[in-house]
């Protein structure tokens, strides 16, 4: 199966700053997704990253706070902007080649102090 490399694996950031998380897939994929997993909770979809067009955001998530790029079929970034302690979470990227089986990166553990 395909592999996603996600980085950084963890970071500690000052409030008010921004962090960009990168995901690189080892093969072309149709769709990429970004999830947030708050401490002790399940995964919540932030947005779907579409190649060549703007990302599609879920209710409760906005582009100004979580800008996403998808410059090609193997790469995507998620930026967490103007961070506050409430943004401390695990952020995971995921990809799907169109066969309905999603695979995931290793996750980024973000702590905002």
């Amino acid at each position: 199966s395909a592999v996603i490399s996600q980085k950084p694996s963890r970071d500690i950031c000052q409030r008010g700053t921004s962090l960009t998380i990168q995901c690189q897939v080892d093969s072309q994929v149709t769709m990429m997704f970004w999830y947030r997993q708050q401490p002790g909770q399940s995964l919540t979809l932030i947005a779907t990253a579409n190649q060549g067009s703007e990302a599609t955001y879920e209710s409760g998530f906005v582009i100004d706070k979580f800008p996403i790029s998808r410059p090609n079929l193997t790469f995507s970034t998620l930026t967490v902007s103007n961070m506050s302690p409430e943004d401390s979470s695990i952020y995971l990227c995921s990809a799907d080649r169109g066969n309905t089986e999603a695979f995931f990166g290793q996750g980024t553990r973000l702590t905002v102090v």
């Binding site: 769709m31 997704f33 909770q41 399940s42 995964l43 919540t44 979809l45 779907t48 579409n50 599609t56 695990i90 995971l92 995921s94 799907d96 309905t100 089986e101 999603a102 695979f103 995931f104 990166g105 290793q106 996750g107 553990r109």
Partner: protein, 115 residues
């Protein structure tokens, strides 16, 4: 709205024994996909097993099998001959299409394996 419910926040089992994790879901669709994912302490989500709703036969992957009851909207995971490496969070997930396909996850069940 589609929802996925895992009613067992935590489960434990003795090594080599069998354990069943529960999952129910709510949908008005007739064709859909269900998944069980495993999340060990490394954080990476790993696909354990997948079930297509149109298939009556329960999916099986080695020691992992499901009991899919479509009418009851139930999708439980059975782990046989539990091993220490099975310890993890287990998430049930439902694949929906709302403009684009996306996964809806349950709350998770933390599985502990007792040696």
């Amino acid at each position: 709205a589609q929802t996925v419910t895992q009613s067992q926040p935590e489960m434990s089992v003795q090594e080599a024994e069998t354990v069943t994790l529960s999952c129910t879901y709510d949908t008005s669709e007739s064709d859909y996909y269900l998944f069980w994912y495993k999340q060990p302490p490394s954080r990476q989500m790993i696909l354990v097993i997948r079930q297509e709703a149109y298939k009556q036969q329960n999916a099986t992957e080695n020691r992992f099998s499901v009991n899919f009851q479509k009418a009851a909207k139930s999708f439980s995971l059975k782990i046989s001959d539990s091993q220490l490496g099975d310890a993890a969070m287990y998430f049930c997930a439902y694949l929906i299409w709302e403009g684009a396909q996306k996964l809806v996850f349950g709350q998770g069940t933390r599985l502990t394996i007792n040696p």
